[in-house]
């Protein structure tokens, strides 16, 4: 257990260093600052609706940035190890492929969470500076967003072991963004289709990662209050089970990968 803890700590530290020393993340942070600071200073004629619109925009930016970071971090966990051949000295150490996968995943999620936390600090600051307030929905919204990031990293990690980087990032983004915006409408859409197509749409609905379960932007912006505790816990459990399944699949793929 001590060995595993030290291995995970080393992998988490590696992910943090990698994330925060990357030029693209540095650029993203600067971009975040450049977009959020003007938002915080905007006084849209004192109109409440306009202020909410700014909040919505800021939240959409936070979601976009977090998706970009999560997919990028998940994608970079294994392919660079194979390309630079660092996978050999790494797996020649006392660590199994399964442990390496779990350790790297934890590291990637922790690093992505640190970036998300940074963006939420900016968002909360921008709202407070405009005189806005938050109610009980804020902690729930943040926790669900963190769960979404953990899910997105696992999607990208599995994809990185199966297809090329560009294909993985495109497919993962397409699935997660598609479900985020259209996921809740799929059953309704399936009703109007012929049985074969309806079956396809229903299957997609059953197996695709439901990003929309974690989206509390509207509640946050309009102050609709927190969701029921059970619903909240079910969404978290969904993320945990989905991540576990994806990691299990990734472990099988990595285990069969020829070195």
């Amino acid at each position: 257990m001590k060995l595993f803890a030290r291995q995970v700590c080393a992998l988490v530290k590696l992910s943090f260093i990698e994330l925060w020393r990357r030029n693209d993340i540095f650029a993203l942070v600067l971009l975040g600052l450049a977009l959020m600071v003007p938002l915080s200073m905007a006084t849209p004629f004192g109109a409440e609706g306009a202020s909410r619109y700014l909040d919505e925009m800021a939240l959409l930016l936070v979601w976009g940035f977090s998706l970009f970071i999560a997919l990028g971090t998940g994608q970079r966990l294994f392919p660079p190890e194979f390309e630079s051949r660092t996978i050999y000295p790494l797996l020649a150490k006392p660590i199994s492929r399964g442990r390496l996968l779990v350790g790297k995943y934890i590291g990637a999620v922790a690093a992505s969470w640190s970036a998300l936390a940074f963006f939420y600090v900016l968002f909360v600051a921008s709202v407070l500076l405009r005189g806005g307030t938050f109610a009980a929905e804020l902690p729930q919204a943040i926790v669900l967003h963190f769960a979404f990031v953990a899910l997105a990293v696992s999607v990208s990690l599995l994809g990185s072991l199966l297809v090329s980087a560009s294909a993985n990032l495109t497919l993962s983004a397409l699935v997660l963004v598609g479900m985020f915006f259209f996921g809740r409408r799929l059953p309704e859409y399936a009703e109007g289709l012929n049985p074969a197509l309806a079956w396809v749409v229903k299957t997609v609905y059953a197996i695709a990662p439901h990003s929309e379960f974690f989206d509390m932007r509207q509640r946050l912006v309009h102050g609709w209050g927190a969701v029921d505790g059970v619903v909240f816990l079910v969404a978290l459990a969904y993320a945990v089970v989905y991540v576990a399944i994806l990691l299990l699949l990734a472990s099988c793929v990595l285990g069969r990968k020829r070195l």
């Binding site: 030290r6 080393a10 150490k93």
Partner: protein, 243 residues
């Protein structure tokens, strides 16, 4: 030497890739404290053999035992140090961070890693560059960082894949002395190389591979009596005879 236990034991090992045998029926033993040079032309099966010794590849048939166990077991690998032929490592880390990372993977505590890293960076001549990112390192410096990471866990068996590649003459002499020091400390060393002169200077025994087959195994001191005056002649003669 005959009373020493076998650190590496390969019995009739074959590894095939899509029907082509990269290693065919290889049997090899390496005793504790021995230094063995593993020679052969490109594609002879040296790296495949090394990967099987590290548990990175499973043999198609035959058995591989390292330190009395299966090298695919992480507990066995805890006693093996490995330096790959080419590795760019993590360009955004510096040498000290690289060793801290590998130390963590080996399960070493922070204090031990710090002490060993200081001493290893000094001994491989990277102490002055320890805080520079690895992306600024030359090939030779990366090789030295690779040697340092291989030695970090103070392994009983050191497996080196082409360790002299990219080293300048001075670094080569320095590295040779480093390996001699390790041998004197009783470490078992197995390395593949194209550098026949270095192999002759360092090894107790050599094995020569050709197209997946081991065509020669013997002590370096016997080479003169084999009709050849040095390892280079023996190497050429063996490969010629194996045609």
């Amino acid at each position: 030497m005959s009373e020493c236990p076998d650190i590496v034991q390969l019995e009739g090992v074959t590894r095939a890739f899509a029907g082509t045998k990269a290693v065919d029926g290889l049997s090899l033993k390496l005793k504790a404290g021995e230094v063995m040079g593993f020679l052969g032309t490109n594609g002879a099966g040296k790296t495949t053999t090394i990967k099987m010794m590290l548990g990175l590849l499973a043999p198609t048939s035959g058995t591989v035992k390292v330190l009395g166990g299966d090298p695919s077991d992480p507990h066995v690998r805890a006693h093996i140090g490995y330096m790959p032929e080419v590795a760019t490592y993590y360009p955004y880390l510096n040498a000290r961070e690289l060793l801290a990372f590998y130390g963590g993977i080996c399960g070493l505590d922070a204090k031990t890693v710090r002490l060993r890293a200081d001493s290893l960076l000094e001994s491989v001549g990277l102490a002055d560059a320890a805080k520079r990112p690895l992306k600024t390192y030359s090939k030779g410096m990366l090789q030295r960082a690779g040697i340092a990471q291989a030695l970090l866990s103070d392994p009983d068996l050191l497996v080196l894949d082409e360790p002299f590649t990219g080293l300048d003459p001075l670094a080569r002499i320095h590295f040779r002395e480093l390996l001699r020091g390790l041998k004197e400390r009783g470490k078992t060393i197995f390395f593949s190389s194209h550098e026949l002169g270095e192999t002759e200077l360092l090894c107790d025994r050599v094995a020569i591979m050709k197209k997946g087959h081991c065509v020669y195994q013997g002590p370096v001191k016997d080479i003169a009596g084999d009709g050849a005056t040095n390892l280079e002649r023996l190497f050429l003669k063996t490969l010629e005879e194996a045609k």
